[in-house]
Symmetry: C2
Subunit: 178 residues, 2 copies
Amino acid sequence: MSAGEVAGSRLARMIARLITQRACLEWAAAEIREIDGPVLELGLGKGRTYDHLRRLLPDREILVFDRFVHAPRDCVPPGGTLVLGELRKTVADATARLAGRVALIHADIGSGDRSADSALGADLAPHLAALPRPGGLVLCDRELALDGFDRVPLPPGAADWRYFIYRTPNHEDGDDRP
Amino acid sequence: MSAGEVAGSRLARMIARLITQRACLEWAAAEIREIDGPVLELGLGKGRTYDHLRRLLPDREILVFDRFVHAPRDCVPPGGTLVLGELRKTVADATARLAGRVALIHADIGSGDRSADSALGADLAPHLAALPRPGGLVLCDRELALDGFDRVPLPPGAADWRYFIYRTPNHEDGDDRP
């Protein structure tokens, strides 16, 4: 088997995925330093990226959304910051409270089912577009249609893995709503 | 939180673990090129390292041992190469058939329970010591007491993660049993 086929193993692909996530999260944490507001993590999963985010941003409120908890106990978000339920409903509820106030959304929503992912991404997109504060960011493991948002290239350190970073439109206009 | 604490996240540790596994497997695959015999993978798990091994060693028989299958369908070993059951029993049975004939064992047996891992490692060690052909290798995510084996340093490319490589004793003496 060729080197390319070795590079396509599930081990190699998992490494590329996690390295890309780490690079994107570390870049985003630095980018939002001056931007107030909570961070939203969609998809707790095993709690890996949540654990990394809370260490990168120890003073930031991080709200975590998932359907259920299967993270290790030490990666379960503290009471009040974990929102359980269907993402379509819980994220819509969050939009009602937090529209225009969120600094960063990390949506790790991909599954093995591309068509389900695509439908979920399409349903969530209007909320993901409404939540961020000007200058705020949306990171996602699936491509999203966020009206007017700029697609940002992946930062240095990202591996050969598809990930998507979007920034709110016209954030340099300096809309300073509190 | 300090940089060190960020480096200790579950995301960062998973990356270090997988990169170390990949480096060890790639090194071992090259090391055993001239050494006949099957490869044993103890712990199929999600099938990541099995997938990497079978791509590295497409012409080698790989026997996989686990208690049950929870790998994706495309990473389930073909019939006859997957041995299901308690490792203490299945590995003992393999020793009866394959003692002194195995080229490489990769034992990814660690769990969250250090004392259970330690007990399992102690029970498996006599078999892991008996199985390899001269010059054969044992890779493990837990320290093992393999009588007379040499501990080999981790290869270049390994990350900051504990992994253990052992080589059969006195393999340069050229015991050529078939």
